[in-house]
């Protein structure tokens, strides 16, 4: 920990932590999905090792073919496609969550890595920071 503090004192160079953002909420019904996405975009400015996880109702955030005109809210599903431009390319989806909702990778707006629950568990366990929405 002390060498990390030294690095911080030297202007933040060199410390790269593993950050995981866990998304478990459907879009639109609550503000969590949109706010979580905004925080991920902000985190990109800090050059950290960022992963995004979509599990439970969070997998609904990535569905393609969205049209939000009728409910007059922002369609932020397109923003997930912009993540790549911010070097956020580690997107993981839990298979069990997709199965429970009758969804497959073909239904999603971005390329993701599909993990089984055990793989997802170990990926979570190896993070330095996990932030949940």
């Amino acid at each position: 920990m002390s060498d990390m503090m030294d690095d911080m004192d030297e202007g933040g160079e060199g410390v790269v932590k593993k950050f995981m953002f866990v998304n478990r909420k459907a879009p639109h019904g609550t503000i969590y999905a949109l706010e979580g996405l905004e925080v991920v975009l902000i985190s990109a400015a800090f050059d950290q090792d960022v992963s995004m996880v979509f599990a439970d109702d969070g997998v609904y955030e990535l569905i393609k073919g969205v049209n939000t005109k009728g409910i007059e809210v922002k369609d932020f599903s397109k923003t997930y496609r912009a993540l790549e431009g911010y070097d956020i390319e580690k997107l993981y989806v839990e298979k069990a969550s997709m199965d429970a909702r009758g969804l497959t990778e073909d239904d999603l707006i971005v390329d993701v890595t599909v993990l089984d629950s055990a793989e997802m568990a170990s990926l979570m366990a190896e993070q330095d920071v996990v932030i949940s929405y």
Partner: protein, 99 residues
């Protein structure tokens, strides 16, 4: 009685309670995150399908569109727009929102 449910059935138990406590011939309107329950392949769809023997189930179209779910609606579920929502409210003596 018109029962209105707005929470995801895979996150809360409001739909389950509504279906359990709705009397035969009642209407159930799914709005907001509750519309996912009316889509094919969802674990909640099984419960909705079973309930349709006794209840008429409706889902709000604009909420389905906003979630990319319009093409996946279960057979037997009637999709209504905001005008249809108002009609349902006026056609029934009372309504209950399962928050």
């Amino acid at each position: 009685m018109l029962h209105i449910v707005n929470k995801s059935a895979t996150e809360r138990n409001s739909l389950e309670s509504a279906l359990r406590l709705a009397t035969k011939g009642s209407a159930v309107l799914l709005i907001e995150d509750a519309v996912y329950a009316a889509t094919k392949g969802s674990v909640a769809a099984t419960k909705v399908q079973a309930a349709m023997a006794d209840l008429q189930v409706y889902a709000l179209g604009p909420d389905l569109d906003a979630r990319g779910m319009s093409a996946r609606v279960l057979d037997g579920v009637k999709v209504v727009d905001y005008g249809g929502f108002v009609d349902l409210v006026t056609e029934h003596n009372s309504c209950q929102s399962w928050l």
